[in-house]
């Protein structure tokens, strides 16, 4: 597969899309773990939801 004289434009485009999509995925996973950790921390201090269910339990 030859990309011709404008290969750098094509490769940069695909690399940039890959990088931004990976960043989005990593950010969302990190945010999920951060929120779960904060919920467990607060619940460990004795504060629970009115329903009595754990806020970190999402099943």
């Amino acid at each position: 597969m030859s990309l011709g004289p404008y290969a750098s434009f094509i490769v940069t485009s695909y690399a940039l899309v890959t990088a931004v999509v990976l960043l989005l995925i990593i950010w969302i996973i990190a945010d999920y773990r951060h929120q779960q950790a904060r919920l467990k921390e607060i619940e460990a201090s004795g504060v629970t939801r009115r329903s009595g269910r754990s806020a970190a339990d999402i099943r």
């Binding site: 485009s13 695909y14 999920y32």
Partner: protein, 260 residues
């Protein structure tokens, strides 16, 4: 499970936990197929291999508008039906929409340089998409700036609906004004002007990116619901601490009165 059941955030979280792995798997498979087809697509007789940029530029450009459409429906849900998940949906979609719009602008620019001879031109299509990107950033700033979530939700919903005017402007800008950007070539009256060798990889990539958006959006909505739970538990924690302090002060005051 009915649609009204999803109004309950706990049930919504349970559903996302079940379907997210399947959605992520389907997205990865379709992206792999789309990327393979894009790599194998022939060169265009005029553009050469740069036509391959189309397979990532066009899905991002479509999604930049589609995500604002999703946010506009969510804004109606906030203002009209006061649906508990409507603001969560809109707020979670904004950064993803901003990322797709940014990618549409940059890949378009990288495609434009070899084909048009310029990275940027202040024509109607490019400028209206840049305005869309700035509106995404403005909305995200608004959500962060207003501390009360319900006030932020209403203000963001109004701004989203006002901003929705830009979507038909982007879509029809190439017909209404004389622009450097080419007119619609896929969804147009009279059918697509693209050859099937380009159309199929493009459609597969468009479906793959749409699935990617749905997957990321559901995961981001789950995060937002958890963030709101953290906030409400922190408020309960703060009110308990303040009640405990008030109680302690009352006991100390009554002891002092007793001693006097």
């Amino acid at each position: 499970m009915t649609l009204t059941d999803l109004a309950n955030p706990t049930r919504f979280l349970a559903l996302t936990t079940r379907i997210l792995p399947w959605l992520a798997g389907a997205t990865a498979i379709l992206l792999a197929i789309g990327l393979y087809q894009s790599a194998m697509a022939p060169d265009d007789y005029q553009q050469g291999a740069t036509v391959k940029i189309m397979f990532i530029h066009v899905p991002n450009a479509w999604l930049s508008m589609f995500v604002w459409g999703v946010m506009s429906v969510a804004a109606l849900g906030t203002l009209v039906w006061r649906h508990p998940l409507a603001d969560v949906a809109a707020k979670a979609a904004a950064p993803i929409g901003a990322a797709f719009t940014f990618l549409a602008l940059v890949t378009g620019s990288l495609w434009g340089r070899p084909m048009w001879g310029t990275y940027w031109e202040w024509d109607a299509r490019l400028t209206s998409v840049l305005i869309l990107f700035l509106m995404y950033l403005g909305l995200m700033a608004l959500w962060r700036a207003v501390e009360d979530p319900s006030r932020a939700a209403r203000a963001a919903a109004v701004l989203t609906l006002v901003g929705a005017i830009n979507i038909p402007i982007i879509k029809f800008s190439v017909d209404w004004w004389n622009t450097l950007h080419q007119p619609a070539s896929v969804f147009r009256a009279g059918g697509s002007t693209l050859d099937k060798a380009f159309l199929w990889p493009l459609l597969v990539m468009a479906i793959a990116f749409s699935l990617l958006f749905i997957t990321l959006h559901l995961a981001a909505m789950r995060n937002e619901i958890l963030r709101r739970r953290v906030r409400s538990l922190q408020m309960m924690q703060a009110s308990r601490t303040s009640e405990a302090r008030t109680g302690l002060r009352d006991v100390t005051a009554s002891k002092e009165i007793g001693a006097a």
